[in-house]
């Protein structure tokens, strides 16, 4: 699907362009030459077995300093992403939905939400929202995501269930309206309702000027959010690119058949 529009997009500059990215942690290499493009308007699924480097890629793109980068470039909307701090990346419209959202007792969720939104608005030269405008905005989003108002006064993710944490990530994403949202296994550990809520959240935000990078183990999420392209990360590099059929084949056959594929790009499903 969308082959023609993809072709048209390829002629454009990608929103995110990763070239030859090598990264590791504690002296251990994890990413061994990642090349990938994400174009505005696209939903790209990134699949791969445990330990293939999916979360490392997400964290490196968001600016986590614990990882060391040894080679490669990343352009985000035409600027050098790797020279930006995590704060700048966020304010420029890169959003990471964490695989394990952090519990921060004592920092009220409403404060995080409001501070994050207003920091972004200041960065964009917009006026900050006052308390009433902010509350109207956030309560509308809470309703859409099926979250209770009491979420606002609780500590960030404090005592939230797994599903609540993931919904809270979706709430932040919906509030911040990023240009690129990276969802790191947002589907893991969710029941059917929560999965649907996450999918609805993403689908509602799909727009020609916004892109999603969905990191997932499973085909299940991709039944609710149909990706434009599917990439497979293995041993720290992209080894296959395809359409939704690629995800289905992985669901049926696993990753073993890809272990043999030595070329880094273009394996047909």
């Amino acid at each position: 699907m969308n082959r023609i529009s993809n072709a048209a997009q390829r002629a454009m500059q990608p929103l995110l362009a990763v070239r030859g990215l090598h990264a590791g942690i504690d002296g251990k290499p994890v990413l061994t030459g990642v090349d990938l493009d994400v174009f505005a308007g696209e939903v790209v699924a990134l699949m791969g077995p445990n330990g293939s480097g999916k979360t490392t890629l997400a964290q490196v793109l968001a600016g986590r300093e614990a990882y060391s980068l040894s080679a490669g470039q990343v352009q985000f909307a035409g600027t050098d992403l790797l020279s930006m701090s995590p704060v700048e990346r966020a304010r420029e419209g890169l959003f990471l939905a964490f695989q394990y959202p952090v519990e921060i007792p004592g920092v009220p969720n409403i404060y995080l939400l409001k501070a994050a939104l207003n920091a972004q608005r200041r960065h964009q030269g917009l006026a900050e929202l006052d308390a009433i405008e902010f509350l109207q905005t956030i309560k509308q989003l809470l309703r859409e995501l099926g979250l209770d108002d009491k979420f606002l006064q609780r500590g960030v993710n404090e005592g939230f269930s797994g599903g609540e944490k993931k919904r809270n990530e979706m709430l932040q994403m919906a509030l911040l309206r990023p240009r690129l949202a990276i969802l790191d296994e947002t589907d893991s550990g969710l029941d059917v309702d929560a999965l649907q809520a996450v999918a609805d959240g993403v689908n509602a935000l799909r727009r020609p000027d916004r892109a999603f990078l969905l990191i997932t183990h499973y085909q299940r999420l991709l039944e609710h959010i149909v990706p434009d392209r599917v990439l497979v990360l293995l041993h720290g590099r992209i080894v296959a690119t395809g359409g939704p059929d690629l995800a289905r084949r992985i669901e049926r056959e696993g990753y073993a058949w890809l272990q043999c594929a030595t070329q880094s790009q273009g394996v047909a499903p």
Partner: protein, 433 residues
């Protein structure tokens, strides 16, 4: 002759013409100090805190106090409220012009003793207790004033009693307080320690004896905001009668060297004690929190919650000892000390200790020393919140559970202002109606 003795002999030659009864106590204190000397690092209780700095400082009344007006006090942020009685001490002397003793109910007797004006009372207050140490002797030697508060049975004071201690010069403040609560009496005390800006090095010793009657309740809050040149040692001894409640809270921000001691003696059944302390230190500051709780009878209860944040080369010390003595069955005691170190040069020594010699008790103790949570920091910055703000948010969230809180808005505001001045503003989370 050691430096301490040198200092002591010098101080003793300056003993002012005090009444005989007072001089007798001074001599007895000097005798104690001569024979014991100030504690050193060889004393287990002083292993991590040195009092060397105390040696060279002049005694309180060798320097004349500055004139201080009520406006000066306000400008320094001294806590005040028109509904509350407030006692102010300047350079270790009662300052009647700045104090307000009205508004106390029948059965409440609030007075200040004075070495010169009330020698008999002074003799009583300056007497040594059986458990007194050399630091107490320093206090007995120099204390010239203090608070003597007595509440008759059943007397309850609705508004907190405010005690402000201000230092204006390089001398010292040595105050000695006595607080006695009759059966069922209740009071909240908020004590604040302040200094004029740029006050050079000075010494504060404070000794407070509290006696809680049956079912009495005392909440004691201390805001230790001394100048960062100060040495501040405060000892608070509490004796609890049956079902009495003692609640102590500390926020320690100031002083080059500070030590807060609580000695809680639960002599009867069903007593409750809660101690909360928060220290936020930086630079070369050294802050010692020292606590002893003795549960002697059944159904005792204690909670200790001490937290510290140490930046630069600051050093924190925590010693918490809970003794559950024979016969104190069904004691319920919990003690936790948590610390965050913000720099490689900061240091904490923590000693939570529990000694149980009774049956069927529920006791726990623990300590933790760590850094700010990197995952939480990254999470906040990945949402576009500036790194400095994220750090301040996390520090504030860490310290809040150990902050003083007696449900009194002026104190809450005061603490919020103190934290804001330390780069930790209160997040605005109010929802408009």
């Amino acid at each position: 002759m050691t430096a301490v003795q040198d200092w002591l002999e010098h101080a003793l030659t300056q003993v002012p013409d005090e009444p005989q009864a007072v001089q007798a106590q001074r001599r007895s204190a000097a005798q104690t100090l001569r024979s014991r000397g100030l504690p050193t690092r060889h004393d287990e209780d002083w292993k991590y805190t040195s009092l060397k700095g105390l040696d060279v400082l002049p005694r309180a009344d060798s320097v004349s106090p500055a004139r201080v007006s009520a406006d000066d006090l306000n400008a320094l942020g001294a806590i005040d409220h028109p509904d509350c009685a407030r006692v102010v001490f300047v350079d270790g002397r009662y300052a009647p012009g700045l104090s307000r003793l009205h508004g106390l109910p029948q059965g409440a007797r609030l007075r200040c003793w004075s070495a010169r004006l009330t020698p008999d009372l002074a003799h009583e207050v300056l007497a040594a207790a059986a458990d007194a140490d050399a630091v107490d002797a320093v206090n007995r030697l120099f204390a010239a004033d203090g608070l003597d508060l007595e509440l008759a049975a059943g007397v309850r004071i609705a508004q907190p009693l405010l005690v402000v201690t201000l230092q204006t010069n390089a001398g010292g403040s040595h105050l000695r307080h006595r607080i006695t609560l009759g059966a069922g009496a209740r009071i909240q005390l908020v004590e604040q320690h302040l200094a004029l800006a740029a006050t050079p090095g000075y010494v504060v010793t404070e000794s407070t004896r509290m006696d809680l009657g049956v079912h009495a309740a005392l909440h004691h809050v201390r805001l230790q905001t001394e100048a960062e040149t100060a040495s501040h040692v405060s000892q608070l001894h509490v004796v609890q009668a049956e079902r009495s409640q003692f609640d102590a809270q500390l926020l320690a921000l100031g002083a080059a060297l500070s030590r807060q001691e609580w000695h809680v003696d639960q002599r009867a059944a069903g007593c409750s004690a809660e101690v909360r302390a928060a220290s936020l230190l930086h630079g070369q500051q050294h802050g010692d929190v020292h606590l002893r709780i003795a549960h002697r009878q059944p159904h005792g209860h204690s909670r200790t919650h001490v937290r510290g944040v140490f930046d630069d080369a600051a050093r924190g010390v925590f010693t918490g000892r809970v003794d559950v003595l024979p016969g104190a069955d069904k004691t319920d005691a919990a003690m936790i000390n948590r610390n965050v170190l913000l720099s490689m040069a900061a240091e904490v020594d923590t000693r939570p200790q529990l000694q149980i010699d009774a049956d069927d008790v529920q006791c726990s103790h623990g300590a933790a020393v760590g850094r700010l949570d990197d995952d939480a920091l990254f999470y906040l910055t990945a949402r576009g919140i500036a790194a400095d703000e994220a750090r301040a948010l996390l520090l504030r969230a860490f310290i809040v559970p150990a902050l003083p809180d007696i449900g009194w808005a002026p104190l809450t505001r005061q603490i919020a202002a103190l934290l804001a001045a330390r780069g930790m503003p209160t997040p605005d989370v109010t929802e408009p109606r």
